[in-house]
């Protein structure tokens, strides 16, 4: 159950991004997780409910997209692999490198920003 610590790490980064880009608020946060991320989507969402008020992001929508586990095979290129059998399904190669699905990725952040015409002249 380390989802709360991952959410804290995520929201600290999102807050930094909001400040750097002069955002007034964060509308939504898109993340990607895969089978080897070590993250359970339901637990991630409940951890978000607990932690987001600390960052004043109660209104912010967290969107969790699940992605498959993929790897790079030296012979066959990008392939989909099973998490319990990490070999190339086409040629049987075992020396493959995982390229996606083993982490929690922050994909994008939607910010609410002030319009030119909202600014005082």
């Amino acid at each position: 159950m380390h989802e709360q610590s991952l959410i804290r790490a995520l929201l600290r980064q999102v807050e930094q991004i909001r400040i750097e880009n002069g955002g007034l608020a964060v509308v939504d946060i898109q993340v990607e997780i895969g089978p080897l991320a070590g993250v359970e989507p339901l637990l991630l969402e409940s951890a978000y409910k607990v932690v987001s008020p600390e960052f004043r992001m109660r209104e912010t929508h967290l969107v969790v997209n699940e992605v498959p586990l993929t790897a790079e095979c030296p012979a066959c290129g990008t392939i989909a692999v099973e998490q319990t059998r990490i070999v190339c399904p086409q040629c049987g190669q075992t020396e493959v490198t995982i390229t996606a699905g083993d982490e929690m990725r922050l994909v994008s952040v939607t910010l609410q920003t002030a319009d030119e015409r909202d600014r005082p002249a």
Binding site: L24, G38, T84, S108, T110, L111, Q112
Partner: protein, 229 residues
């Protein structure tokens, strides 16, 4: 009001991993091999470290940071054998780098060849956190069953050494060392495996030899085994 989408495309733990890499580089420069030991509760991490310290006594220097939710029982067991600091996580299920850094401050000037970080007993959460280790080790005991690797794929995928412990119990439990190693190699084909009885101090030399090889490689090349992804 308008909205702006900022593309990021970054692992949430990338920053933590970068800090871990900086600390790892410092240990590499100092010739200290850092070993992160993970297992389920009760697999024998502390007993393995006691056996390791006894095996090396007077020949190799080691220090230990030991993580638990509560109590300093493990540190009490290890302190007579090697400089040891207990890290208590206050209920958290895994160690993270800041806790390790705090433990290092308390250890003071490090004079050792090997620094062991005994993680909290758990095969799930610790697997996601880089603690600056050169080598990640899983201890799997024969009482847990030989079908465990596929249940904890991330922990096995990211480890370089598998220690099968409690081989003295093999006559009493339905556990095949070969099946467990095969299962682990479906997930991580490069994983090195040794089978020991830490309690009986049996085959500890095999495990220590793997570590000594890794240490020699670290001193010679500045790199060790391979960081798995």
């Amino acid at each position: 009001m308008t909205q702006q989408i900022i593309s990021v495309g970054r692992d949430v733990l990338a920053k933590a991993r970068q800090s871990a890499q900086e600390l790892r580089d410092e240990f590499t420069r100092r010739g200290i091999l850092v070993v992160n030991i993970m297992s389920s509760p009760g697999a024998g991490k502390t007993t393995l470290l006691q056996a390791t310290a006894r095996h090396w006594q007077g020949r190799r220097k080691m220090a230990v940071l030991v993580g638990d939710l509560a109590t300093d029982r493990d540190a009490q067991r290890l302190a007579p054998l090697a400089p040891t600091i207990q890290l208590t996580t206050g209920g958290a299920c895994h160690l993270e780098l800041p806790l390790v850094e705090r433990g290092l401050e308390r250890l003071g000037e490090l004079d050792c060849d090997f620094l062991f970080i005994e993680n909290v007993g758990n095969l799930v959460c610790p697997a996601s956190h880089d603690l600056s280790e050169h080598v990640r080790v899983i201890v799997l005991s024969t009482t847990e069953g030989d079908d465990k690797p596929a249940k904890y794929p991330k922990a096995f995928r990211t480890s370089q050494i598998l220690v099968i412990n409690k081989t003295d119990l093999l006559p009493h439990v339905p556990f095949s060392v070969e099946a467990a190693i095969n299962d682990a190699r479906q997930i991580q084909p490069r994983i090195r495996a040794v089978a020991v009885s830490a309690h009986r101090q049996e085959h500890i030399a095999d495990w220590c030899n793997l570590l000594e090889e890794a240490h020699a490689e670290l001193r010679a090349t500045g790199q060790v085994l391979s960081q798995n992804r």
